[in-house]
């Protein structure tokens, strides 16, 4: 590992952990996420979700009022009332997540106590758990870590041999991976989070964990505490990463190497075909990743090794060196990896570096485009089905598309001065 690791601090431009509710609530349709916070929290989730495209959402905010701030006792009573009302209106809910926010953390509203109290009252009809998605403690994808960590103590114990995939996957991707693992000979594959919050997978010493996402530090720690083995591998983004990730499981399950190759070789070959047209667009292009989703390191690795891109700078909100060791090892020597952010200085470096493509958040994308810098809007990466060998082409396409688009339309929208019409 010889990446150039730097740290930076200053004003940040990163979502908080509440944002991960946007995909978590879709993964588990029988769960409800109740943020205990302010109008800002409610507005944030709704804005991040793309402004109201869905009907009755499975998340909401218990908005603190001045009265709640005046006395914590009142706030607890109020929270109980709101939770009761909610559950009455939504009888299909099986798990209620109480999600802490910046304001609830600052006023030290004890959501663990609230969860305990509600669990007692509800007597198992609905399970109530809590975690914090506050922006003073978590960024963006870390919210998922909190939510899953909150579920770990509830997992049933089992010593059976099984593979546990940890981290939200699109259902179709999950189906596909389970199918492939079964072809490798691994028959018992479970997922956390499950598709129904009431069908929690068991855990124990027979459990081998593969993390599907790089931001699940706390969840991994708690699973280890429950006896599970957490495998070390690159993350399953791109053909190479996904293959090595699957191979790590295969090795742990002692699948015969020949049969592993027999399954994975054709997939990898097909992935190369799927990648080829995108590699044509991306190879030799320079990319700058701003910190947001924690996916930046695996993406940089994929974009460099499989798509031939040059890495100008790779930003990450925070860096867990141990968990990221496999990824860092695959980055080219001297890659600049910056932990934390001073958004103004980082943008200065973007402008100075003239990258061909910048991966950034929704607040920065259009302003950079207006300066003539092509961007890839990073929040899409956590919503799209991008995991696994079969999705490598789709993953590359997310990056080639903006460059391809520019190629298609730039000259017509920015015509050169001329005495003669281009087309007449």
């Amino acid at each position: 590992m010889s990446a150039n690791l730097l740290k930076e601090s200053g004003p940040r431009e990163v979502f908080c952990g509440l944002t991960s509710i946007v995909w978590l609530h879709r993964r588990m349709p029988d769960a409800f996420f109740l943020v205990v916070g302010s109008r800002t929290c409610a507005h944030l989730i709704q804005s991040a979700a793309g402004v109201m495209i869905f009907a009755e959402p499975r998340f909401g905010t218990a908005i603190l009022s001045e009265r709640d701030l005046a006395g914590l006792a009142d706030a607890h009573d109020e929270l109980d009332r709101v939770a009761r009302e909610l559950l009455m209106r939504r009888p299909e809910i099986r798990t209620l997540f109480l999600v802490g926010s910046c304001p609830s953390e600052v006023i030290k509203l004890d959501l663990a106590r609230a969860a305990e109290r509600l669990n007692e009252e509800l007597q198992g009809r609905v399970r109530v758990v809590n975690y914090s998605g506050s922006g003073i403690e978590t960024t963006f994808t870390q919210g998922e870590d909190g939510a899953l960590a909150a579920l770990v103590p509830l997992l049933p114990a089992s010593e059976s041999r099984q593979l546990l995939l940890v981290g939200t996957l699109a259902d179709a991707v999950e189906d596909r991976l389970i199918h492939l693992f079964s072809k490798l000979g691994i028959e018992s594959v479970r997922s956390l989070p499950p598709r129904q919050s009431s069908e929690l997978p068991p855990v124990g010493s027979g459990t081998t964990v593969l993390l599907t996402q790089p931001f699940l530090t706390e969840t991994a720690r708690l699973l280890r505490d429950r006896g599970a083995t957490v495998l070390k591998a690159p993350f399953p983004l791109g053909a190479e990463g996904s293959r090595r990730w699957m191979e790590a499981a295969a090795a742990d399950f002692h699948c015969p190497e020949a049969s592993v190759r027999a399954v994975l070789d054709p997939l990898e070959a097909r992935a190369r075909i799927a990648l080829a047209p995108h590699r044509e667009v991306l190879a030799g292009k320079r990319i700058f990743l701003l910190p947001e989703s924690q996916l930046e390191l695996p993406l940089a690795r994929f974009l460099h090794r499989e798509c031939g891109m040059d890495l100008v700078e790779v930003g990450v909100p925070y860096l867990n060196r141990e968990q990221m060791a496999e990824e860092l090892a695959l980055l080219p020597d001297g890659t600049t990896v910056v932990e934390g952010q001073h958004v103004e200085r980082q943008l200065d470096r973007v402008r100075a570096g003239h990258p061909d493509l910048v991966v950034c958040g929704m607040g920065l994308a259009n302003p950079l485009e207006a300066e003539g810098i092509t961007t890839k809007w990073s929040i899409e990466l956590v919503f799209s089905p991008i995991h696994g060998i079969d999705q490598a082409g789709d993953l590359a396409e997310l990056f080639s598309r903006p460059l391809h688009r520019r190629q298609l339309i730039h000259s017509a929208l920015h015509p050169q001065a001329s005495d003669h019409p281009v087309h007449a």
Binding site: G10, P11, R12, E13, F15, C16, G17, L18, T19, V36, G37, S38, R39, T40, C41, A42, H43, L44, Q46, S47, A48, V51, M52, I53, F54, A55, E56, P57, F59, G60, T61, A62, I63, L64, S65, E66, D68, L69, A75, R81, V82, L86, C102, P103, V106, I107, S134, G135, I136, E137, T139, E344, M362, G363, L364, A365, N366, P367, E369, A370
Partner: protein
């Protein structure tokens, strides 16, 4: 504590951002944790701006709370002042920072910065976005102008006459994330210019600090969006004696009234009454025979105060609709909304719970909904056509083309936008005539399409209407539909069936009959038309 699923307004500091981002040379230092930076996307994605909003967030973290967050604030204020060198600095805090009481405004005031510093105190736990915008605009203007306030206001609104110049007005209120403000300003400028009236300052949209300082030079202020500008207009009237116009020129009648009001205030001869008919196509489109079918269409209106009130007037007086519901999420505008509703024989719904609005909509059984994006989704669930008339903004509410709501062209835009969902003119009319044709009964696809599987969408609406109807009026008395009653009902096209069912049940209760047969349906029809 209040359970909120979707919210019509953001927190008040988002209102402050709208003012800062609308202007140039104004920077806003917001004491807030990193999550609050999401608000940038409202401007860059929803409003498709090619610039970041001029906001520096302190993005304090939990670990900072133990230490000196005041120092953190001052460092960010200094960096922002150095980097952006604004003409004026707004300093405030979001909901979380409000709790830790760093008083960033006071801190910044004490830093000896070279530009004016305006402190914003926007109570996040009791106020909302529009209030925040209004307060910010007011505080900024007051901060910049308070030194120039004369001891005794002595404003002559007709000064232009002896100064040998054209009269000059300011347009106050338009802002980013306001509904169609960008185009309303162009249209109102064009309208005033046609009448020989110059526009001095437009603010906050596109204004700088120097423009704010020029505000007192106008003869008159035009308050385009009371939600944002009324408090500022009042202050300018109290302190500088500059009167302001109160009519919002949305719709034919209101545009006419606006012109009359502005002319009267400026001491000018009122405009030709026929101007609107000559300059807008809306009156002819509403009068032409194609529009006859619009008559009496039941419409449910919900939005911000300004647009909801305007819509109610346009619907009832200019399009010939019947307004069956009127409401707003703007508590600040409750009084005029209630008055507008009362004029129409309705009780206004002042409410910011979108589910309560949806329930009221279902209960009113309208044929058209004019609302926000949230009502658009509710209406879709109920299978009712809908047009969007108000914030909260969605990217589709910021069209590329010129799309004002105000003035003569605004009336054209409104006609098209509201009538189009009502099934595209003649097309719907013919469907009304062919309503008994097999293509328009259950199971077949209507060109309306909104509700898709027709039955599904509509039953939803119908059922909720039935349920609530029963609760309201006859909790114990169960109504029975006879087979021939049901059969007759099925012959009615799905998009009006809910209303017919409702009328029949209500009629049956009124006359005390327990069974609804085909005769009851005919009786109810005669009764309700009479």
């Amino acid at each position: 504590m209040e359970l909120t699923l979707w919210t019509y307004e953001g927190p008040p500091h988002v209102g402050a951002m709208r003012i800062a981002a609308s202007m140039h040379g104004v920077h806003y230092v917001l004491h807030a944790p990193q999550g609050d930076t999401y608000a940038d996307l409202l401007f860059t994605m929803i409003e498709r701006r090619g610039q970041r909003p001029p906001v520096t967030y302190t993005t304090f973290q939990a670990r900072d709370l133990g230490g000196d967050t005041a120092e953190l604030v001052k460092r960010h204020v200094q960096e922002a002042a150095d980097r952006f060198q604004p003409d004026a600095l707004l300093v405030g805090e979001s909901c979380t920072a409000e709790l830790i009481q760093d008083q960033p405004g006071a801190l910044a005031q004490g830093m000896g910065l070279p530009m004016p510093v305006v402190t914003l105190e926007l109570p996040a736990y009791s106020k909302k976005e529009n209030w925040g915008a209004s307060e910010t605009f007011y505080q900024l203007m007051r901060g910049l102008l308070k030194q120039s306030v004369p001891p005794q206001p002595s404003h002559d609104v007709q000064a232009w006459k002896h100064e040998g110049r054209r009269p000059r007005v300011n347009l106050l209120g338009p802002s980013l994330l306001g509904f169609r403000c960008r185009d309303d300003v162009l249209e109102v400028q064009r309208l005033l210019s046609l009448h020989g009236i110059d526009v001095g300052v437009v603010a906050p949209l596109g204004a700088g600090v120097e423009d704010i300082l020029r505000l007192p030079q106008a003869d008159l202020n035009v308050c385009l969006y009371p939600e944002v500008a009324e408090s500022s207009c009042s202050w300018l009237e109290r302190n500088f004696g500059i009167p302001f116009s109160k009519t919002v020129p949305i719709g034919m009648g209101a545009t006419h009234d606006f012109l009359v009001e502005v002319h009267a205030l400026l001491g000018m001869t009122p405009p030709e009454a026929a101007e609107g008919y000559q300059r807008s196509r809306m009156p002819w489109y509403s009068e032409s025979v194609d529009s006859t079918y619009l008559t009496g269409k039941r419409v449910f209106i919900f939005g911000d105060g300004t647009h909801a009130i305007a819509a109610a007037r346009i619907c009832s007086e200019e399009l010939g609709f019947t307004v069956v519901g009127l409401g707003s999420y703007s508590r600040e505008m409750a009084r005029p909304v209630r008055a507008a509703a009362k004029k129409l024989g309705l009780e206004a719904l002042i409410c910011d719970d979108y589910l309560a609005v949806e329930a009221a909509m279902a209960e009113a059984a309208p044929e058209l909904v004019l609302g926000t994006q949230m009502e658009r989704h509710s209406a879709k669930r109920l299978g009712i056509p809908c047009a969007v008339i108000s914030t909260p903004m969605h990217v589709q509410d910021v069209p590329a083309r010129l799309s004002p709501q105000m003035g003569w062209e605004g009336a054209n835009v409104i006609f098209d936008a509201w009538v189009h969902p009502l099934m595209m003119g003649l097309e719907e009319h013919l469907i009304g005539m062919f309503r008994h044709d097999f293509e328009f009964v259950d199971g077949h696809q209507s060109h309306l399409g909104h509700a898709g599987g027709a039955g599904a969408g509509n039953n939803h609406g119908t059922e909720s209407v039935r349920a609530s109807g029963c609760q309201d009026e006859a909790p114990s008395g169960q109504l029975i539909w006879t087979a021939d009653g049901e059969a007759e009902l099925k012959k009615i096209p799905f998009f009006v069936r809910g209303k017919v069912r409702r009328n029949a049940e209500s009629y049956a209760r009124t006359v005390g009959c327990k069974e609804i047969s085909s005769e009851t349906l005919y009786d109810a029809k005669a009764h309700y038309k009479a």
